[in-house]
Amino acid sequence: MDTILVRRKWEPYLWLLPSLILMTVFVVFPILIVFKLSFSEISRAGTVGGFVGLNNFKAAVQDKAFGTVMKNTAVWVVSVVGISTLLGFIIAMALNSEFRGRKIARSIVVFPWATSLVIQASAWNYIIKYEYGNLNNVLLNLGILKNAVNWRASYQIEFAWECGVGIFVTIPFVTFCVLAGLQSIDAAYYEAATVDGAGFWKKLRHVTLPLVRPSLTVSTVLNIIYVFNSFPIVYTITKGAPANKTDTMVTLLYMRAFYDQQKGPATAMSVIGFVILCIVAGVYMIMSMRGEEDL
């Protein structure tokens, strides 16, 4: 009897052990190393020296591009996560309704998600090219434009394109998270609401949204993390140019580490980013969980 009890007590941990080992080796350990490096002197060639206190953090915050990049990162995360969540939700609602070709529509939605981000970003780079871009070609051939338009006329527009590509590739993930949530809602709720005289908007507000909230929380938290850490789109389209004005925190720290050979400040930036992410994702999760408890 005792043996069975002991076995039951330890068995779950035994099953979890492989994942825990993997997480420790590939997640926890690298994070600890980055924390250690952020307080160490790192030479331009890459040799790691002694403890330098907060010097790397000071240098990171005093970096001339830091303010712009923090602002860009906020715009990038809020616009990409916010707009893709809204559009993903609408598409999921559409895909949840009965219509012919629904399966094909669902497959099409998944395409951007199934393609590598670098390939997506490179494809968009070609689409918006001034000289030979597909967008100009199509619009000129259709007679909508008389002369080619420079779709990258300023860095603000280029950054807006980057956000647009971010939204495009993020929508499928939100759509499928929400779709999974929508499919788990019992039809009886809608029937009851219809009997009570609720219209589309009332059903949406009082039935759909509360019941889909757990799926939305998961997709939003994961998206905040993915989008904040997203590197390929900005790096492929502008590499942060001109003069870091389209950089986000992740691309800036990469440039600082491997182009400017300022590895100390770069590791400090990655720690700052990690802390910001923990706070933002944590606050969002707590707020969402409170909301769920209120239901």
Partner: protein
Amino acid sequence: MKKLIALLAALLLALSCVGGALAEDDITLDVIICQYGPNTQEWFLGKGMNGTNFVEKFEAENPGVKLNLEVVSWNDVYTVVSTRISNNNAPDILNIDVFADYAAEGLLEPVSDYCPEELYGDFFPQFIAQSVLDDTVWAVPDLASARALYYNVDLLTEAGVEKVPETWAELEDACQAIVDFYGGDVYPWGVDMTTDEGQAAFAYYVWGNNGGFVDEEDNWTVNSDANVEAVNYAIGLVNKGYTNPNPATQTRYDLQDMFAAGKLAMLIAPNQLPTIIANSGNEINFATADIPHNEGASSGSVGVMDRVMAFKDTTLNEEETAKRNEAIGKFLTFFYKPENYVGWVSMEDFLPAVNSAVAALVEANPAFEAWLNVLANAKFYPTAKPEWNSVKQGVINVEQNALTGGDVKTLLDELQATLTK
């Protein structure tokens, strides 16, 4: 249990003997080579060397020396090397463009410790001079390229440009003539101020105005009056609509494609451009000339040179180090043997770094001779100064800030202040 322990002990003993035997007889060199083009990987590791490859051929000719050779793309090589240095796992031999950071931190072996004398005497002296820090040579050149002005003869002729521009004023006149004739269909002048190669744009203009990165005493002078004037001139070309529309994001490769497609009339590019144009399938009528300069200043080509260097291995004793250095010497001797090196240089269309390859290369391609003359008068980036990397990124930053309206003098003053503090 005892049997098991005895078996394990015997196994360990046997393994240690094998290990000892390997250590005594063979030496393995860790080598990182940069990917210069599509043929690099094939030449070193595939079948690109007459059905065999560099590693196989080297190991067959040099018994006792094994190569653990990796071809790494230029995009990744700095990340790879820096990570390996951080992990105390630097390669034995590295092919890259920069060396000063590694030398300044005492990570490199002096060339005199591993390079055979006969081979050392074969390198172009002006190339060797580019790899000297504190009176010691830390790297040897592996190849070079030189830049010149390329112009589309037909486009210039049709636009009524009778003389290829030699001075900045003539360049502006030619640009205006092209704008007047073609409107927005042809860009007169190509400018690349991207993070890829914005430092080259800086060099073209400041050297064409008797400015530069350093003064005669080798002190940084990035904010000299000549440099301010030169960068203002370059930014002025962009603002007047004489260039490609997005110099901060359009790389030299984009410009070369535009030139090959007849969309760009003039650009400064390396000696490989004719091959790129030929491979593009386009047929354009083009020619080369000196890079335009300011009135009263002289024109000079920009030379770009890459290097091969050897990292120290502090885990080895004196005898082992001598043996390793001898192996590195064998690697270099084999690499620069004319029968191997000529194939390597011409395969990716570069210019040689050793005298012994010149005759064979000129015989194979007479156009090489003119480029060798260009190279002989070329100026090089001050890569022997440890701050070079910061300066390189700094001048790109200045250009990109100036493109968005920043004041060139203020920006260059700020950059200079970071170098002299």
